[in-house]
Assembly symmetry: C2
Amino acid sequence: MTAVNAPAGVADVPSGLPARVPTPEPGDPRLARLALNQRTTANWSLREAIDGCVAAGIPSLGVWREPLAEVGVEVGARWIREAGLRVSSVCRGGFFTSADPDERRRAYEENLRALDETAALDAAALVLVPGGLPEGDRDIRGARSRAAEAVAELAPHAAARGVRLAIEPMHPIYAADRGVVSTLEQALDIAEPHDPDVVGVVVDTFHVWWEPGVLDQIARAGDRIYSYQVCDWITPLPPDALLSRGMVGDGHIDFATLTAAVAATGYDGDVEVEIFNADVWAAPGDETVATMARRYIELVEPHLSPRITP
Amino acid sequence: MTAVNAPAGVADVPSGLPARVPTPEPGDPRLARLALNQRTTANWSLREAIDGCVAAGIPSLGVWREPLAEVGVEVGARWIREAGLRVSSVCRGGFFTSADPDERRRAYEENLRALDETAALDAAALVLVPGGLPEGDRDIRGARSRAAEAVAELAPHAAARGVRLAIEPMHPIYAADRGVVSTLEQALDIAEPHDPDVVGVVVDTFHVWWEPGVLDQIARAGDRIYSYQVCDWITPLPPDALLSRGMVGDGHIDFATLTAAVAATGYDGDVEVEIFNADVWAAPGDETVATMARRYIELVEPHLSPRITP
């Protein structure tokens, strides 16, 4: 909250405003749980993302399957291991709301491949994005049922590989075309029939900050929080709804309260910064990572440990 | 669903696609509950909107306070009465989430004026748009509490004037900057402590179509549904989030199911078409109204009467 120690001339991405706190150095213990989601630096290859994390002292990476496929799972997994990084999540499985049996079969098989990759990377979880309404289909209740069925179908295969499935509830702005599971409550309803070590949820501040009762739902989630992701809700909303996420601290989200609620469940995993935003992507990756680290230190990390009353 | 009887050369607004059904004539009994919200034909003055409704056989108008103020409440009310129209709603009261006592006082007084206008127009309800987060304020729970308090403060004044207050839950896309009440469930939680003849809700398909459990919430609302509004959720979302609404039938919303659920509560009020969309606004008002009437006849009106099992 103070700019006193911020080095002159350092600007935040993408606001261009002066940095409010110094950039933490590699090895700073406050960075111990920070993860870069690859989409935050979308122009970086997997190799560049690994090197960028190492250079900035970010110990964990959220890996996307597409850039991983460019080098192959085996090579990617080795690079990550040799760099000493953790994999906070693999993005993405899911997209299993089709009403067409052939398409559902293809989605199922694709998800099995995603499970194998997640296991090979020893990642904390496979993120499941449920998918939207099929073309021309207006039955959102049906699509939600199929999402729940697909999770149930996948769960034993995940368990067999020691992989955790993290259902990602998505902001209702994406209910039609991306994710029919719209609230943390709904994601937990889908997860709860399953083993708490196999099926859980992603808590992404962008998706759930507005949800009535979200703090109760976070408490309810307990050990089922497999991934905590942070990015901000900014206004006016950028023109492309898919790129509408803001840098932590640029918008309306109360990170202190949400982070404290997640921490109170005992969550001790990584905190991943995932930002889809054209202005962020236009900046050099290392500046994005530096801003992300500063904002995390300022707004998120102080709330990660439950306060102990003496 | 058939284009068999559609006159050649008639196109829908804004899609430009051929009309799928004939435009209903004035006097068609299927138009008996259709209302034009003034913002759907935003370029029309109040006088033009009244004349447009009469010409198209639309019996009811959702009035906005700004165009009403241009001619004055007394003149506007007389025009509407002389034209034989009903007023399905007055837009808008609310915007009472400020944390500043002076601003809250001003909002309260503005809402009292809105109540007077609603009474003068003999409108079915005053629509309350709660308002967003105050500038720089990230406490959405606090803003929601203030919205509930403001409704409680306003209720006796509404009752004294015989005006009904319709809380409008808004799609979470607007939670930060327009409406912190994000679900029908939340709106009903605010309404329920009050007299069911004084405080109720708007059910707007655009805002609630994605809500988990929305059909149960509509049933719960019962007599508290004061306004049923229809417009569609389209993808890709237009660049301006405030103008992202689609013509009924152009998007992903299941009007049959939602309309039948509203009808099953015994709702017998008007059905208002409210569309904020730059492409709709670029079209001549009479073409917009004609498209709206066709889509209503095709997709909404057949589901308005609860089916009687013989």
